[in-house]
């Protein structure tokens, strides 16, 4: 069969699976086919990985070589440009986003030692008193989504700290995890440390159950089962938001537009909600004018900046938006309540959309969609901080120091940015969503004082 062929990789070795699934792109064209891993192949991968897993950290040199290969090399016939094109067509991601993500992953690998150092408390606690940070288990499972390549850095982190890794790639976008796997193996990673298993959701759940630690990305439906798990951490809808409590200047509008539309609105930390102490309609109208000016060539063009979706997802989005725009919500962007446009290549572009509502409890408040989509709703001080919470990032555009202190203290807000700071801005060790090193590692005391200062002596 022509086109791209993706096969599972079990403990470093490609396996041709008899189970095949077509890979259809956003235009409705057959891009290639995926050999999928049934549960028994996953069972075999887990058994073999566990037998060999030794908890050894992966050297930073190897990771840097892998990062370089990932960004620049021809891997299994896939050039960096071809990788970009594949991700764009399979997941509908703009190519600029894919390039940004490659840079993100390279940066994340480069900073990994600094990130880990920053995430762990000091270990030298006096002469003869040390804390050892060791992997809390041996196997790590990553169940990825297809929205953005950058989150793949989480399983690289686990690998670096000593885990053997099983990755279930996104169904629509299996390419990033595969390319990283190939890059790591080409850089000299021991084969048993990595398995790449395109599979059904149920097999992904098995992989999470079978591992000692895991991460799962996806909508509420995909992550719900693991919400209270001690061994699986979840990355669900970010519902990132802005509190706008200052005059609406051009500078603020630029900031809001970039916060919502950078990477085509596909990041979990793109904002999807503006809570304003002013007039929601006025804010939404001004933001809509910026959104209406956003334009992009087709998704596979090198300078594409806005995403597209396939026909089925377009229909799903159309129905969802139809359900959200009633009940007092007003659409301010020019395309109106049905912003899905069929492009000549057969894909569908959800045009950037701004809604406003006077009701802070309107069902559209807190909805996050995979394109530039923002709801503007009112917030009054009497509403308290509850409406500001349940957010991956809360951006405070306010001078109210008491409010800032209150949201920093609120456990349902996972990151606070102040002023015209972009939601994804951070330095190594600044939590994106919690502290991955602490999740992956366990501390233990190592005391080597001998008989010195014996309490009973």
């Amino acid at each position: 069969m022509a086109g791209i062929v993706v096969e599972p990789i079990v403990c470093g070795r490609p396996v041709r699976s008899l189970d095949r699934a077509p890979l259809v792109d956003v235009r409705g064209d057959l891009l290639g086919e995926v050999g999928t891993a049934p549960r028994l192949m996953a069972v075999g991968a887990v058994t073999r990985a566990r037998r060999s897993a030794d908890g050894t950290p992966v050297g930073h040199d190897l990771l840097l070589r892998a990062a370089d290969l990932f960004a620049t090399a021809d891997l299994d016939g896939e050039t960096p440009q071809e990788y970009e094109r594949r991700v764009a067509l399979a997941a509908g991601l703009p190519r600029v986003t894919v390039r940004n993500a490659v840079a993100d992953i390279v940066r994340s690998l480069t900073h990994l030692p600094a990130t880990t150092r920053a995430e762990l408390p000091g270990t030298r606690l006096g002469d003869g008193y040390d804390t050892a940070w060791v992997p809390a288990g041996r196997l790590f499972t990553a169940v990825m989504a297809s929205n953005h390549p950058a989150p793949n850095d989480s399983w690289l982190h686990a690998l670096a700290l000593g885990y053997s890794v099983l990755v279930r790639p996104g169904t629509r976008e299996p390419f990033t995890a595969r390319r990283l796997t190939l890059a790591l193996l080409a850089a000299g990673l021991a084969e048993h440390r990595i398995s790449y298993l395109p599979c059904e959701r149920a097999v992904g759940e098995y992989l999470l159950e079978a591992a000692d630690r895991g991460i799962v990305y996806g909508g509420s439906d995909a992550v719900r089962r693991w919400a209270d798990s001690a061994t699986v951490t979840t990355r669900g809808p970010g519902r990132s938001r802005v509190l706008l409590d200052r005059p609406l200047t051009d500078e603020v509008l630029d900031h809001l537009t970039v916060s919502a539309a950078h990477d085509g609105g596909t990041r979990c930390n793109n904002i999807s909600l503006v809570l304003t102490t002013g007039d929601p309609r006025q804010v939404a109208a001004a933001l809509a004018a910026r959104f209406d000016a956003l334009a992009s060539p087709e998704v596979s063009a090198p300078d594409a900046t806005l995403p597209v979706v396939d026909a089925a997802r377009a229909e799903g989005l159309r129905r969802q938006l139809a359900g959200l725009t009633g009940g007092g919500a007003v659409v301010h962007t020019a395309a109106g309540a049905d912003p899905l446009v069929r492009l000549p290549d057969g894909s569908h572009r959800p045009l950037p959309t701004v809604l406003s509502t006077d009701d802070p409890r309107h069902p559209a408040v807190g909805v996050e969609l995979p394109f530039p989509f923002v709801v503007v709703a009112p917030w009054r001080r009497t509403d308290g901080t509850a409406a500001l919470g349940d957010a991956l990032v809360l951006n405070l555009l306010t001078d109210d120091a008491d409010l800032r202190a209150a949201v920093v203290a609120d456990p349902s807000v996972r990151k606070v940015t102040c002023g015209l700071t972009l939601p994804w801005d951070g330095a190594p060790g600044i939590p994106h969503e919690g502290n991955l090193s602490l999740f992956l590692l366990k501390s233990k005391g190592v005391v080597t004082t001998g008989a010195r200062d014996h309490a009973l002596a």
């Binding site: 699976s17 008899l18 189970d19 050999g35 999928t36 891993a37 049934p38 549960r39 028994l40 192949m41 069972v43 075999g44 887990v46 058994t47 989504a145 297809s146 929205n147 953005h148 759940e205 098995y206 159950e209 079978a210 990305y217 996806g218 909508g219 509420s220 439906d221 995909a222 719900r224 089962r225 669900g236 809808p237 970010g238 609105g265 596909t266 990041r267 979990c268 793109n270 089925a312 997802r313 229909e315 799903g316 989005l317 129905r319 969802q320 996050e368 969609l369 995979p370």
Partner: protein, 360 residues
């Protein structure tokens, strides 16, 4: 003994399926011999089954009445011509609503004697003691396997397994309870294997997967069991290859396709030119299976179609049943007179576009 068949249903050895069909239609629609169920139906049909049904292809004129098997008193299904006692009641899985019930006395014994010959063609362990790690209770799978074990002069070990409870737990998202229940099933099996010389294991694909995920139990099965018979749900081609080549390379693996209504269709021995790892062959004497497209036309060889079957025996008449299963149609080989079925799967759930939530 009440296992006689009447003169009216005595069959000649060279009778074709169509000849048998015409003879058994006279039996099922004769007021003296037919069942109350079919005699009631006769008046509701817009054709005369004795005049208008000539060949297997005509059976599609019957409506699919299997939904009525969910509530009709099963005694009404017994043909009046079959006097006496000894009928058993079996139920279908009960995934979609109330289970369907059938009655059986001798048909299944004949069917299973034939099926055991088919299993022996794979050189299964025989004679051998069996462990059945599969549905029991009203489900027919356990009865079938008990019969195979008896035909092979073996003892038959069972576990308690209620698949409907598992389905309820799965539907409720109770994944952890499902895990514990499966563990409970595996523990029962491990206990039998610890002390009993079992050589045949009959079970389901999900339980084979669970055994393989438990290195200790897997080793115990590999050590003791010479033959694994699987049925109940399907294996994907790669799954089956994993079972045969990776997990149980020295064990004889035989699949059986089947369901409560039609009976069983064991895997036929593999041939050098086979394109599929596993091809099932139905019981030509009483079961007619077509694999059909959305318009009801039989698909070509090598194509996937939905299972449409008819069961024509002296005890049960179930024409034109549309199953949820699909399979690839395979040309008959050797002395087989009926098509084979490969890569059985269920009809894909018809597409509600799922709600998109978040950026995923």
């Amino acid at each position: 003994m009440n296992t006689m068949t009447t003169a009216a249903v005595a069959s000649s050895p060279v009778e074709t399926f169509d000849e048998r069909l015409r003879r058994l239609l006279r039996w099922h629609f004769d007021p003296q011999t037919g069942s109350p169920f079919w005699l009631r139906q006769r008046g509701l049909l817009d054709f005369d089954p004795l005049r208008d049904i000539d060949t297997a292809a005509d059976l599609v004129r019957f409506p699919d009445l299997t939904d009525q098997l969910r509530h009709v008193p099963v005694g009404d299904l017994i043909p009046r011509g079959l006097t006496g006692t000894g009928f058993r009641v079996y139920e279908s899985g009960g995934t979609s609503g109330a289970p369907k019930r059938i009655v059986d006395r001798d048909y299944r014994r004949r069917l299973l004697s034939w099926a055991m010959q088919r299993l022996r063609a794979h050189h299964i362990a025989d004679p051998a003691h069996w462990l059945h790690l599969g549905p029991s209770g009203p489900h027919v799978f356990a009865y079938d396997c008990a019969r195979y074990a008896a035909l092979g002069n073996g003892l038959f070990h069972t576990v308690d397994f209620d698949p409907r409870w598992v389905k309820k737990l799965v539907a409720a998202g109770e994944a952890d309870t499902v895990k514990r229940y499966v563990r409970h099933l595996l523990d029962q099996a491990a206990e039998v294997l610890r002390s009993q010389p079992v050589k045949v294991l009959s079970t389901t694909p999900p339980l084979i997967e669970a055994i393989c995920a438990d290195p200790e139990l897997h080793a115990a099965v590999e050590r003791n069991v010479e033959t694994i018979i699987w049925a109940g749900t399907s294996f994907s081609p790669e799954s089956l290859r994993q079972v045969e080549e990776v997990f149980f390379p020295d064990t004889t693996i035989v699949g059986i396709y089947g369901n409560t209504l039609m009976g069983v269709a064991p895997q036929r021995p593999r041939l050098p030119d086979d394109r599929h790892l596993c091809v099932f062959e139905p019981y030509a004497e009483a079961v007619w299976i077509d694999l059909v497209d959305d318009d009801g036309a039989v698909v070509d060889y090598g194509q996937r179609g939905r299972v449409r079957l008819s069961l024509v025996s002296d005890e049960m008449f179930l024409p034109n049943v549309i199953e949820r299963d699909t399979a690839v149609r395979v040309e008959p080989v050797g002395d087989a007179t009926v098509d084979g079925l490969a890569e059985v799967g269920t009809v894909a759930e018809v597409g509600d576009v799922r709600v998109i939530e978040g950026v995923y």
